[in-house]
Symmetry: C2
Subunit: 399 residues, 2 copies
């Protein structure tokens, strides 16, 4: 069929969108080769050709995760993948230790609540990271707990916890750790096997440089063993056993987002070409420079244990979030994120957040920091022009 | 960042994929303007720009569904959307009448079984359509039933039931109808509001001309009313109340597959430009011609109540499915589907299926019929060359 019925009414906003630097902590910018891959004709998924692509994506995900175990590719958001892990892995009649220090940790509590799972809730102040010691204490108090849910890099608070020491403590108690690595995997160093992380969830639209639509679940040996037991909570699409069984044949149980999976292959190739450690170093470098620049501009960081995947800062008094970010977008073609709110804090309108994940470099970051500085000055903030860039460069950023 | 790390190793299979006519009943071929849209830069979803796109997609979906009610856009496969309807809409402690006449009807039974819902199972022989009378009888026998699940066009058997009269019967019993329109919506006439269909599920990769990754749930007034009651089964991502609440603000509860939603907007525009009734007529014309051609070639149709969205036929003796379809693909660049199996029949390897949904026209269909004829002759089937095309043309197909 001819496609000439397509009108050109997108021409204007196409040029707009192309010129915007997307520096939000998800969705993140998608590299052109990945976008080009999305535009390729659809192939059928029950074919040797698709299975070869899927097998390659799975192998690359294992290298990204630093694991020999399965990394399942589910259709949906990061939340879909995390809920699947939650419902598939808790023992029948058991309790979950659910740690919240931001909006996403609270969401994982809400999900278990929706499923009627009894919880030991460990609420940590927003901007702080839970410690292995606090988790050890909670586990000693609650011997009937058999799953811990944890956010590695809490996107709402730009805060990171020490996954390695936490995984060690959780294993000692013979409890399963389900870690939300949605804004961590591919951005900050995680060694799934070496650290003994049982379950690690990721999402395509963060450091994986794809549009949203895929969620990933990595499974360690203890998680695999638990999946062989009868499932605790009723599930069908979210039953990881179904995905695992297909994965073993390089296949998926339901018609998958074929185009996104092909795009993910290209994005993972790009990560490997750069080198995963180099990607980690790049994110860390951008984060260090951003924190220095924010502090030099007199902004307070929102986190006392900052993540390297994104940086958050409180607005100074008198700066209005919506207007500020609209100026960044309209006058500077830079899009950053505002704050989120939850039970633990009301940060919507109070903070801004800048991503260091995926397809972003020193030029993008310097452009954002300089624009933020300029708009702070315009808003009456007392600040010498060049402060941000100078601090960022002093912290090692070279563009 | 520069994208020069991307290698060109896809060049060869890119040309292959582009030249293949994809005539499988999902995924179906995606028009070039939709593919081009998928390659556009990602925009953020918590913006006025995205909400405008989403609102437009929702309006167009309502016109496609012929409904004034909400049509929710979920991330995932058609199965995701159907499971969401199943878990969100059954009354607490009630039974479901689950009708199966093929693989997908059986899947909806499996889903309720996974969730521990008691079922009245109505199993119809594969290739037959359930009748309104059979459903009325089943409902009289089971007054405690409050949900009926039904497949409108059963993809595994290329069979269609009379949704209009079934919806009428179900309403008389004050029961809710959850209809799987995954290979029906956009291909065959359905008037959701006029016929009083309570819930209608669709999938992006069928007549909606998008790659897989989106599922749709249309909700009639009785379904909306039921959603106001406490939910029957535990769910979070699959809880339609959460999607409905966001939909009312032209929004989605979780990060959505932004690129696919933009592509869906373009595909829905194309459907409206052609005119929905014209699309229905085109599919029906291709189906009529294909059935005539199959019969003229001496093939037995698999369905006694054929759907117009796809056509299935049994292979004649001595034709081996995998080799036959490989020849179609490799020698003719045409991809059709084989059979599926389930509890009700073992049709894998025994049948072939040809899609009439979405981006397909008389040229595509004639090419497929002619190639099928040629390969049947090559396999020793006694058949005069030109039989298929002549029968198809006699049935009204003009290319």
């Amino acid at each position: 069929m001819s496609g000439d019925s397509r009108r050109n009414r997108y021409d204007h906003d196409m040029s707009d969108a192309a010129s915007i630097r997307l520096l939000t902590p998800g969705p993140t910018a998608v590299p052109e080769p990945v976008l080009a891959e999305l535009a390729r004709p659809v192939i059928h998924h029950r074919t040797a050709g698709f299975r070869a692509i899927f097998a390659d994506v799975s192998k690359r995900l294992q290298r990204l995760y630093r694991t020999e175990g399965p990394v399942l590719t589910l259709a949906g958001s990061g939340t879909t993948a995390f809920e699947a892990a939650q419902v598939s892995l808790i023992g029948p009649g058991r309790r979950a230790l659910t740690i919240a220090s931001g909006k996403f940790g609270e969401r994982w509590q809400d999900i278990y609540a929706a499923h009627g799972v009894e919880q030991e809730r460990l609420d940590v102040p927003w901007g702080s990271a839970v410690t292995a010691g606090e988790i050890a204490d909670a586990l000693e108090r609650s011997p009937e707990v058999d799953v811990v849910t944890l956010v590695v890099s809490e996107t709402s608070t730009a805060t990171m916890c020490d996954l390695r020491s936490i995984a060690e403590v959780v294993r000692k108690h013979n409890v399963l750790l389900i870690a939300d690595g949605i804004t961590a995997v591919g951005a900050i160093p995680i060694e799934m096997d070496a650290w003994g992380v049982d379950v690690l969830v990721a999402g395509s639209q963060k450091a994986l440089m794809l549009p949203p639509g895929l969620g990933f679940v990595g499974l360690g040996p203890r998680a695999l063993e638990r999946l062989e037991r009868p499932i605790a909570l009723p599930a069908y699409c979210l039953d990881l056993r179904r995905w695992l069984e297909s994965w073993r044949k390089d296949d998926v149980p339901f018609t998958p987002p074929i185009s996104l999976i092909r795009g993910q292959q290209v994005a993972l190739e790009m990560i490997e070409t750069e080198g995963l450690e180099n990607v980690w170093r790049r994110s860390a470098g951008l984060a260090t420079a951003t924190r220095s620049a924010f502090i030099a501009m007199g902004l307070d960081l929102v986190s006392r244990a900052p993540s390297d995947s994104l940086t958050g800062a409180f607005y100074p008094e008198g700066v209005e979030d919506a207007a500020f970010r609209a100026r960044l977008r309209d006058a500077h073609h830079i899009q950053i994120a505002g704050g989120q709110s939850g039970r633990g804090a009301k940060w919507k309108g109070r903070i801004m957040r800048l991503s260091h994940m995926g397809h972003v470099d020193a030029d993008d970051t310097l452009a954002a920091l300089t624009a933020i500085e300029q708009e702070l000055i315009a808003a009456g903030h007392d600040l010498a022009p060049g402060t941000a860039a100078s601090a960022a460069r002093k912290a090692g950023l070279s563009a």
